[in-house]
Amino acid sequence: MNDQRMDEIIGRLLRAGVSIAAAVVAAGGAWHLASPPPGNPHALTVIWAGLLILVATPVARVVFSLAAFLMERDRTYVVITSIVLVVLVYSMAFG
């Protein structure tokens, strides 16, 4: 693993996450609007799933960076990335 390779993978990961999230949210939205008012609760669940994929995308980028810095044996950045990950997990669980 080198920095260029890491940039390449981060780029792909971000693009994939946003594309999948947008597709799932759009599918859920279309289903929601096609259902008679007040809409379909299952459709809202699909929208939620898409939104959670989106929120998970930057978190996955941080997790991947941590793995990459571990492979590069870059101890300073293993520590830095771990701190960011701890803050993210804390905010999702207890914030």
């Binding site: 780029g11 946003v18 929601h32 007040p38 939104l51 929120v55 914030g95």
Partner: protein, 283 residues
């Protein structure tokens, strides 16, 4: 929920939100202001959407647009991943504090602050940019391996990163505003890197984009738990802003950009003043 939403069918409401968010995303990316900071006042002022719900939906859209844009910048070698990672310590902690404050501060105060930040961002994006002088070397940036290189005219240009502690402190403020207002706070992130740390402008803007998603992710958990994210609103806002900003990014090269910036700056200033007015005189 807003009056407009009660009077419209879900389909009409969604279509109008997609249209408004699309325009906000298009103009936000064209001017570098960001779609999130424009869509919140548009939804609250034009459709009467509750401020917290508008902020929640905008925060979701911010994650989508910044991650989408960052994907390209990172692969092209513009974003400095180490600078981003290091400064994300400051922005994520700031964002958690900011998001926690949204429950304590009254909506009127948030509205006034939002207007003020919007005014400042508009002014910041309109200013003519001059590249800051190169950084005086900071021993900390060598130790943290922050110095980097970016592609320009087919070759790699090296740069050094200065005033690491100062940039870190400003980034905490950027995170705070992001969590507090549900925005990407790209303008303040760029100030920290471009003005304080003297990182080349192109690297500053693309690294800011790279950081916005993680910063927003640090406050979105709190927004979700408080019920500020309404899926039926977040869906059209996210899709509209995302589509608009992808179109806007393609137009960036256009020469008419300056005239458009001026018009848009004036519109944003009006929105900002209305946000402040609504904060001072709650309806």
């Amino acid at each position: 929920m807003g009056l407009a939403r009660r009077l419209m069918s879900p389909l009409e409401f969604t279509a109008i939100v997609v249209a408004i968010s699309g325009v906000a995303g298009f103009l936000g990316s064209l001017t570098g202001l960001g779609g999130g900071v424009v869509v919140t006042p548009a939804l609250t002022l034009l459709l009467g959407v509750d401020l917290h719900h508008a902020m929640g939906a905008a925060l979701i859209s911010v994650i989508a647009t910044s991650s989408g844009a960052a994907a390209a910048y990172v692969r092209e070698g513009f974003s400095n991943v180490r600078v981003g990672m290091f400064l994300e310590i400051a922005t994520t902690i700031g964002a958690v504090v900011g998001a926690a404050l949204t429950a304590i501060l009254p909506a009127s105060a948030l509205s006034i602050l939002f207007g003020a930040v919007l005014l400042y961002s508009a002014w910041h994006s309109l200013r003519q940019r001059a590249e800051a002088a190169p950084a005086a070397p900071d021993p900390l940036s060598a130790r943290l391996r922050l110095n980097g290189a970016y592609p320009e005219a087919g070759r790699m240009v090296r740069y050094t990163v200065g005033r690491v502690k100062g940039g870190f402190a400003v980034m905490f403020g950027a995170g705070l505003l992001s969590g507090l207002l549900g925005i990407g706070s790209g303008a303040m992130k760029v100030i920290a890197m471009d003005q304080v740390m003297r990182i080349p402008f192109k690297v500053s803007t693309t690294t800011s984009n790279f950081m916005i998603g993680v910063t927003a992710a640090a406050s979105v958990g709190i927004y979700l738990r408080r019920g500020y994210v309404d899926p039926a609103l977040a869906m059209p806002v996210m899709l509209g802003v995302l589509a608009g900003s992808i179109l806007g990014a393609r137009q960036l090269i256009g020469a008419r950009a300056h005239a458009l910036r001026l018009v848009f700056g004036a519109v944003v200033a009006v929105l900002a003043i209305e946000m402040i007015y609504n904060g001072v005189h709650p309806r």
